[in-house]
Amino acid sequence: MTSHPLVIVEGLSKVFSPGTKASLRAVDNVSFDMVRGETLALVGESGCGKSTTGRLLMRLIEPSEGRVQFDGVDFMSLSSKELKRERRRLQLVFQDPYSAFNPRMTAESIIAEPMLLAGASASDRRQRVGELLPLVGLAPHHASRYPHQFSGGQRQRIGIARALALRPEFIVCDEPVSALDVSVQAQVINLLVDLQQKFGLTYLFISHDLRVVRHIADRVAVMYLGRIVELADKKTLFADPQHPYTRLLLSAVPQIRPTVQAGLLRTASGEVGTAVTESGCRFAGRCSHVIDVCRSAQPQLRPIAGGHQVACHLAGNVEPSK
């Protein structure tokens, strides 16, 4: 791994319906770097902005503010034609491939479509599909089948094959296993890990499932209402979470080993979006550690130890509450 980042995201923000009453800052000043070959997980609950961040990064949605640099190329300055060409190096795998596929297309034409758009010849496309099917664990005879003839796990394999068709370097995996049963989840996670090792892929892994994230990620960024509240390598984040929201999130995961479960931390009340203060920390309304400054000043993401960043005024001073 080189230390030269493949992806640099700086101050990325998205305001939907700006200037209206319904104006919503879905992503707010998000920054992170990613090096080639790593998996950064974006975790958080519904509405935290994790999926929007993934789409902003690929400029599938136009950011309101901020900058994305991919392998030295400033994505924001590209014309739409240039963007289309550059974007082949980045692909997306969706949560529910069933709704991401045209039901009238065969698996082969679904997988080949990105190549068709990129101008590949019919014989090249056919050959590449022939390579891709076994790579994702599908058989040659699957090529002529339609989406409804596949199981959920097989459909996700098709989605992954399509994402790989143009030999990308970077894949945004947006909840790729959330719709799958546990036994099938494990198969798809193993496949994603194998492909990453084989092709040196870099993953932005968007998920609400901390168990899956804990398994697959190198580093984890926790988002809450549009902002990254904590970012650290996986070991640190799970062993020594600093932000009260991260602690709440980790404590809420039902574990099968009864010994490690301390029950839901009582550090917070309410649900996501409860009593959001405009000026201060967005978690202040739910946080049991809240002090005056939390309501008046928004905490910035700041390093507290090598690579461990936290956006909390009390970071480093919060006693782990039981």
Partner: protein
């Protein structure tokens, strides 16, 4: 009531130890273009009073069909109960008339579902929806029911109940909507609550709050609960007993602590390994290869045999019956994991 010690109980009172609900050999088949397709087959289980039974399985395992069939909630044009009984309060629910059953649904046995938004009426206020079952089942007047609604909303942890009563479902968050559903389910003080994936659509922190709420209500009200879920973690945290289902059959039944200590069915073992691997951050996940067979493509023997690492010729003859393997435990496997002394006489 003063608690009586065991030897003081008369035979009549001891009868109360009988399970609240007993399901015997329940089979349900769906009408399809290609004839009847079995969705669940010979499912038997008991729910003791005041206990939580977790029914766990993946998509297509038959866990929801089981739950819906207890109250005959699948229309007879779509599916039929082809055999079996559901004993509740001395009566077989499969034999009751629609009219008799309506007196039990919502009153003695209540149900909550995965997506509260689709179960609530979008054009009726929370208060009106909560009053309805009490007016219907308990013959309450509107004013009395309203007072009770306020208490119920308070019971399920909804702040400002009076204000919430006038609101509509779309004005509430997902967690609040599920709390309203729970309040509605509890309004007629049922003995049994069937919760079908009650937290699956919720965020993880909201899920934890709802499970906390259900747990505290369960112990406070002495409620029995059947919890349908795909999440073994939820079962571990919440249930007393567990039934694992696969391809329409109950394949393992045990106390929760037992099953997590030593799963007996290879399928249960496989699922637990995956979850344990995830929690242990190990390199490669163990996985169960293949997929759940479709109901019309079931193999003649054990439905799990094609995916099972332990399967041999004995597994392909006929489906192994759910048999006792140790006190309080049953497993449908010819060669259960960790019970080498046991061989099913299938």
């Amino acid at each position: 009531m003063t608690p009586a010690t065991d030897h003081e109980l008369s035979p009549v009172l001891r009868k109360q130890d009988a399970p609240l609900l007993r399901v015997e050999n329940l089979s349900v088949a769906f009408h399809t273009r290609n004839g009847l397709v079995r969705a669940i087959e010979e499912v038997s289980f008991e729910v003791p009073a005041g206990k939580v039974l977790g029914i766990v399985g993946e998509s297509g395992s038959g866990k929801s069909v089981t739950a819906l069939s207890l109250l005959r909630l699948i229309p007879s044009e779509i599916a039929e109960i082809s055999s079996g009984s559901v004993w509740f309060g001395g009566r077989d629910l499969t034999r009751l008339s629609e009219r008799e059953l309506r007196r039990i649904r919502g009153r003695e046995i209540a149900m909550i579902f995965q997506e509260p938004m689709t179960s609530l009426n979008p054009i009726a206020s929370v208060g009106a929806q909560l009053r309805e079952p009490m007016q219907l089942h308990l013959g309450m007047k509107a004013a009395e029911a309203s007072r009770r609604v306020e208490e119920l909303l308070d019971l399920v942890g909804i702040p400002q109940p009076r204000k919430r009563m006038t609101q509509y479902p779309h004005e509430l968050s997902g967690g609040m909507r599920q709390r309203v559903m729970i309040a509605m389910a509890l309004s007629c003080e049922p003995k049994l609550l069937i919760a079908d994936e009650p937290t699956t659509a919720l965020d993880v922190t909201t899920q934890a709050q709802i499970l906390d709420l259900l747990r505290s209500l369960q112990s406070r009200l002495g409620l029995s609960i059947i919890l349908i879920t795909h999440d073994l973690g939820v079962v571990a945290q919440f249930a007393d007993n567990v039934q694992v289902m696969y391809a329409g059959r109950a394949i393992e039944q045990a106390a929760v602590a037992e099953i997590f200590r030593q799963p007996a069915h290879p399928y249960t073992e496989g699922l637990l390994k995956i979850v344990a691997d995830l929690e242990a951050e190990c390199g490669r996940l163990s996985s169960i290869e293949g997929t759940v067979p479709a109901p019309h493509e079931l193999p003649p023997g054990c439905a799990f045999a094609p995916r099972c690492p332990r399967s041999d010729t004995a597994c392909t003859a006929s489906p192994p019956p759910l048999s006792p393997i140790s006190p309080g435990r049953r497993c449908a496997c010819v060669r259960p994991v960790g019970f080498p002394q046991f061989r099913a006489s299938a």
